[in-house]
C-alpha cells in the first residue's frame, strides 16, 4: 500500500512537472503574442467601425440637387457601399439625433433615409458578416491533438512510463476546398438577400412617399372643392 502511494505520488509529480514546463513554454512563446494580436485586431475593428460610421448624422439628410428623381442606380450603388461597411450598433440610428426637416423631404431623401436608418437592413448586414465568419471557419485546418499518458506498475518496482504523442488530422477528399466554396456561395447568397431586402424596402418607401405627394395634392383640390361647395 505504501509502495502504491509512493508510485502514484511520483506519477502525479512527473505529470505536474511536464504540465508546468509546457505551460511556461506556451505562455512565453504563444499565448501572450496571440492575446496581444487579438487585442490589436479588436481595437482596429473598433477604429474602422468608427471611421465608417457617418460622423455627422445630419449628412444623411442632405439634399443632393444633382441627383435626378429617376436614379435608383446611384442609390443602389450607395447601398452597396453601406452593405460593405459595418453598420451602427443597435440603438445608434441617426434619426434619434436628427429628426426629418420640417420643410419636407424629396423622394431621394426618403430613399437615402431608408438606406441609412432602416433596422431591417442593419440586421441583413450583420447576416452577411456572419456568413463571412462561416467562410473563415470553413478554411481552418483541424487543430493538432497532444496527448500525455503516464503509467506506473503497481506491483513491480519499475520506472514510471510517460508516453507523449502529437497527432495531426489531414482532411482528405478536398473537404476544406468544398467547404470554403460552399461558404463563399453562402456569402454571395446573403449579399443577394441583402440586396433583395433593400429593394423591397426602397419600393415600399417610394410607394409611401408618392402616396404622401398624392395626398398632399388631393388635400389642396379637396380644399378647392369645399370652397366651391360653400
Amino acid at each position: 500500500m505504501h509502495r502504491l502511494g509512493r508510485r502514484l505520488a511520483r506519477c502525479l509529480a512527473a505529470t505536474l512537472w511536464i504540465a508546468v514546463a509546457l505551460g511556461s513554454i506556451l505562455s512565453a512563446g504563444c499565448v501572450r503574442p496571440l492575446g496581444q494580436a487579438w487585442r490589436e485586431i479588436s481595437r482596429q475593428t473598433v477604429i474602422e467601425e468608427a471611421a465608417v460610421r457617418p460622423a455627422d448624422p445630419s449628412s444623411t439628410m442632405a439634399v443632393d440637387e444633382k441627383v435626378s428623381p429617376r436614379e435608383p442606380v446611384g442609390i443602389r450603388a450607395s447601398f452597396q457601399e453601406i452593405g460593405d461597411a459595418p453598420s451602427p450598433r443597435a440603438g445608434e440610428f441617426s434619426f434619434l439625433s436628427d429628426p426629418p426637416p420640417d420643410q419636407g423631404m424629396t423622394l431621394e431623401d426618403v430613399l437615402q433615409q431608408t438606406l441609412d436608418c432602416h433596422p431591417l437592413l442593419h440586421a441583413r448586414v450583420h447576416e452577411v458578416e456572419a456568413a463571412r465568419g462561416r467562410l473563415v471557419t470553413a478554411g481552418l485546418l483541424p487543430n493538432p491533438q497532444w496527448v500525455l499518458d503516464s503509467q506506473s506498475p503497481v506491483d513491480l518496482d519499475d520506472a514510471t512510463i510517460l508516453t507523449t504523442r502529437l497527432t495531426f488530422t489531414l482532411p482528405t477528399g478536398r473537404k476544406r476546398r468544398w467547404g470554403m466554396a460552399a461558404a463563399e456561395a453562402g456569402v454571395a447568397r446573403s449579399q443577394a438577400a441583402l440586396a433583395r431586402e433593400t429593394e423591397v424596402l426602397l419600393a415600399e418607401a417610394a410607394d409611401a412617399a408618392i402616396e404622401v405627394l398624392y395626398l398632399q395634392e388631393l388635400a389642396v383640390l379637396q380644399g378647392e372643392l369645399a370652397d366651391h361647395t360653400r
Binding site: R70, C117, F168, A181, G186, I210
Partner: protein, 219 residues
C-alpha cells in the same frame, strides 16, 4: 405615418414631401429588352442562383466527407530512467464500412433539386412581375396622353367659361358652384392618373435598378 415606418423613421414628427407628382413620358422599350435587364439585375434571381450554387457545393462537400481523414503524428515513450526511451509514429484512419455518409449525400442531392425548382419559380414570378408592371405603366401612359390631349384643354376651356359666366352673372351662384365642383373632380381624376403613373414607373425602375431611359438608349 406609413412613410415614417417604411423609411425607418420615428412615428413623430410626420414627414412631409416636397414637390409634386410630375409625369415624365416613358420611352418605348421592347419587352424582351426589359425582361433581359430584369433577368440580369434582379436580386432575388441572384439569391436563388447563389442558393443553388451553395447547395451544389454542399453536395460535393458531403461526397468528400465520405472519405475518412488521415490522422498521423510522432509518439515518444519515456520510462523515466536511464534506458528504455522509445520513439515511434502513429497513423490512424476510419474504415468506412458502415457509414459512408450516404444519408447526407442523399439529403444534399435533394436540396440541389429543390433549389433548382425554386430558381425556376423565382424566374417565372420575377419576369412576370416586371412584364405586368410595364404593361400597366403603358396603359397608364396611354390614358394620361389621352387626358392631356383631349380632356385637359376642354377642362381648361370649361373652367374659363364658368369663370366668365360667373363674372357676367349669367348663371346662378349654385349652378356655378356645381359646375366648378365637376371641374375639380376631373382634376382629381387626372391627379389619380398621375399618381398611378408615378407609382408604377418608380416601382419598375426600382425593380430594374436603372432609369427607363437607359434601356431605351441601349436598345
Amino acid at each position: 405615418m406609413r412613410l415614417n415606418r417604411t423609411a425607418g423613421l420615428p412615428p413623430a414628427p410626420l414627414v412631409h414631401m416636397r414637390g409634386a407628382l410630375v409625369v415624365e413620358p416613358i420611352p418605348s422599350i421592347r419587352l424582351e429588352r426589359l425582361l433581359a435587364e430584369a433577368e440580369r439585375s434582379r436580386p432575388e434571381l441572384a439569391e436563388s442562383r447563389a442558393a443553388l450554387l451553395e447547395s451544389q457545393r454542399l453536395h460535393a462537400q458531403a461526397r468528400a466527407e465520405a472519405r475518412p481523414d488521415l490522422v498521423f503524428g510522432p509518439r515518444v515513450r519515456d520510462d523515466l530512467g536511464p534506458v528504455g526511451d522509445r520513439v515511434g509514429a502513429r497513423i490512424a484512419m476510419d474504415v468506412p464500412v458502415f457509414d459512408r455518409n450516404q444519408g447526407r449525400i442523399t439529403e444534399r442531392a435533394a436540396m440541389v433539386r429543390t433549389q433548382g425548382a425554386i430558381l425556376d419559380l423565382t424566374q417565372v414570378n420575377t419576369l412576370s412581375d416586371v412584364a405586368a408592371a410595364y404593361v400597366e405603366l403603358q396603359d397608364a401612359q396611354t390614358r394620361l396622353d389621352f387626358h392631356s390631349l383631349h380632356v385637359q384643354p376642354i377642362v381648361e376651356q370649361t373652367e374659363a367659361a364658368i369663370r366668365s359666366a360667373d363674372a357676367d352673372k349669367v348663371l346662378a351662384p349654385d349652378q356655378i358652384s356645381e359646375l366648378l365642383e365637376q371641374v375639380v373632380r376631373m382634376r382629381v381624376e387626372e391627379l389619380e392618373l398621375r399618381y398611378l403613373h408615378t407609382r408604377l414607373r418608380t416601382r419598375l425602375e426600382i425593380l430594374l435598378g436603372c432609369p427607363l431611359e437607359d434601356l431605351h438608349e441601349a436598345g
